[in-house]
């Protein structure tokens, strides 16, 4: 029996909404309960999840509500949420508030330590902020893994009075939703991170470049910016909405798009840190990078660097997706192996069939077979294995996956999304798709595989940005691991 006076917490994150959270919330309200709409815990296989004073139920449908209220819904009972192994095993720094606070409540944010990072940053001043960020070892979470502190120092030393902070929220990789969860669940944290960046490098204006596929995040970010404008002043912020171009997640393409141009990639140098938005020194950081900053400011760079392994410091919000039993957001220090993440935490496939492959790092990431599952989550270890962490999304496939079709899709995706600026990507992807079609049809297989290898080398080294440069990863990893699916003999 649930006490009539207890407050029911239900997430209003897009994943919960897509699974029917509004109907569940309405059913509780109809039954006379006060319902608080909070951020998501990230246990997405249990969404819509209902939190009744720390005790969880999920996945709940509106029809189950009466049963829960009566205390009879044992089949949906999760127990104390904080003690659930999926939550208890995490090291949540960036997602410390997940599931607990109302995303747009300034009082919830303040009560849970919000703005302390910005206050401290203003006390210690720009040089000390950058010093602290360098000490933390924080690297760009968007995929490139470039040290954030070094980038900030470069921008701080850039010419002229006008500088910008740009938040890359064009999270287009399949299997990634951590940026979305930050913006929908804890938008003030991202704003605080951007305001700190502004103070550190001397920028008074920040843009969030947000993809149009995230309507809920757009609404919440706009509302949050409005609600806290007085707290971040003189720093001002604005949301700019993308228009469905994947390549705009690439930083120079994003800058062109922000300037109102076609989202074509720019050649580097000049670095955006020196000549970025409208030619001015610009910090371009991913949502997760900026969202990690308030914690680092309050707890110190060394505290952050105490997490992780090797040169991969701190925590990474890993996103478990695709055909996985326990899919959701799992924040953990670098170093956990891929096998632990997929099998122990993720519980293997949702279909119950054996895991055949996982793709890490979105559509440009390599396909990895279970025989490589001892790979630790670390930028350098992944690079050595010809794979990439990217934005830390893991897509799991069961044994029904058609690897030749997935390789072809990688080329097709690159062809559709190529900005057209450089030839290896624009033409290479289309020719690659056609060549894979011939391989799948069984024409001159050995010869065409050679052609794909050659083409991949050319795309990898000749493309201007990661779209053309990394598309060979999924293609070649599929061919190398599963040659029999391309009509080649097994090694």
């Amino acid at each position: 029996m649930i006490d009539k006076n207890s407050v029911i917490c239900i997430s209003d994150d897009a994943a919960a909404l897509a699974c029917g959270a509004d109907d569940v919330a309405a059913a509780f309200e109809k039954a006379g309960f006060a319902v608080k709409r909070v951020s998501s815990w990230g246990m997405q296989w249990l969404e819509p999840m209902v939190d009744t004073g720390g005790i969880g139920y999920g996945p709940v449908a509106a029809d189950d509500v009466a049963e829960i209220i009566a205390g009879k819904a044992d089949r949906l009972y999760i127990g104390p949420i904080e003690e659930h192994p999926f939550i208890a095993r995490q090291q949540r720094l960036t997602f410390a508030r997940a599931g607990k606070t109302r995303p747009l409540s300034l009082s919830d944010y303040e009560a849970s330590g919000g703005w302390a990072g910005l206050i401290k940053a203003k006390q210690i001043g720009p040089d000390a902020i950058i010093e602290m960020l360098i000490d933390s070892g924080l690297r760009g979470r968007g995929g490139a893994g470039f040290p954030a502190g070094i980038k900030w120092r470069t921008v701080a030393g850039g010419d002229g009075p006008q500088k910008y902070i740009v938040c890359n929220a064009d999270e287009g990789d399949s299997a990634t939703f951590a940026d979305r969860m930050v913006m929908e669940g804890d938008p003030f944290m991202l704003i605080e991170g951007m305001a700190i960046a502004g103070h550190a490098v001397g920028a008074d204006k920040g843009f969030v470049y947000l993809r149009s596929e995230y309507p809920h995040a757009i609404v919440k970010m706009n509302a949050a910016i409005k609600a806290c404008a007085h707290l971040i002043a003189p720093f001002v912020m604005e949301v700019r909405v993308g228009a469905g171009a994947y390549v705009c997640g690439e930083e120079t393409s994003l800058l062109n798009s922000l300037e109102g141009k076609r989202g074509e990639v720019r050649a580097k140098p000049p670095l955006p840190a020196l000549e970025g938005l409208f030619g001015k020194p610009t910090v371009v950081n991913n949502v997760l990078t900026l969202a990690a900053v308030p914690w680092i400011m309050t707890q110190g760079g060394a505290a952050y660097a105490a997490y992780g392994m090797g040169r991969s410091k701190g925590t990474m919000p890993v996103q478990l997706a695709g055909n996985i039993k326990n899919g959701g957001l799992f924040e953990i220090a670098f170093g956990m192996t891929l096998g632990e993440l997929v099998n122990d935490i993720g519980g293997g496939t949702a279909s119950g069939r054996p895991v055949k492959a996982v793709q890490v790092g979105g559509p440009l990431g390599a396909y990895i077979a279970p025989d490589q599952f001892d790979l630790p989550f670390d930028y350098e270890a992944f690079t050595e294995a010809n794979a990439l962490i990217g934005h830390a999304g893991i897509t799991v496939f069961d044994d029904s996956a058609d690897m030749a079709a997935m390789a072809r899709f990688a080329m097709e995706f690159c062809a559709v999304e190529s900005c057209g600026k450089c030839t290896p990507c624009r033409l290479g992807s289309t020719r690659g798709m056609e060549t894979l079609d011939r391989i799948i049809a069984g024409e001159n297989i050995a010869e065409n595989i050679e052609l794909i290898r050659d083409l991949s080398e050319m795309m990898k080294y000749g493309s201007l940005c990661a779209l053309g440069g990394f598309t060979p990863y999924p293609v070649m990893s599929a061919i190398n691991h599963w040659p029999e699916e391309f009509g080649m003999p097994k090694p």
Partner: protein
Amino acid sequence: MPILHDVQAEFGHISEDAIREIAGLLNLTRAEVYGVVSFYHDFRKEAEDRPALKLCRAEACKARGVEQLVGVMETAAGDRVKIEPVYCLGLCSVGPAAMVGGKVYARLTKEKAAKLVAEL
């Protein structure tokens, strides 16, 4: 870009006339504005009266069986509903996923997907 979003939200598409008008106001050539409109998947140059559904066809939704839904959805849609592919709605652990307007749907099965299309 904000101007183009507003025009499309108001009129449903960005017409030749609109491009001319925007170019004039911003002191750009029509070709420059046309170039921007044609670059982005979201901007439409022609009016579209049919209701539209965006179906995620990216890897995570593929791993969760979206390709098996495409047939029934297209049958249910016929010429009446437009089904557009989208590469990732960020609902990658609860796919297959779709979006209609600003509303999102997850864990689609053949039955749920066909019903969703039929009700548009």
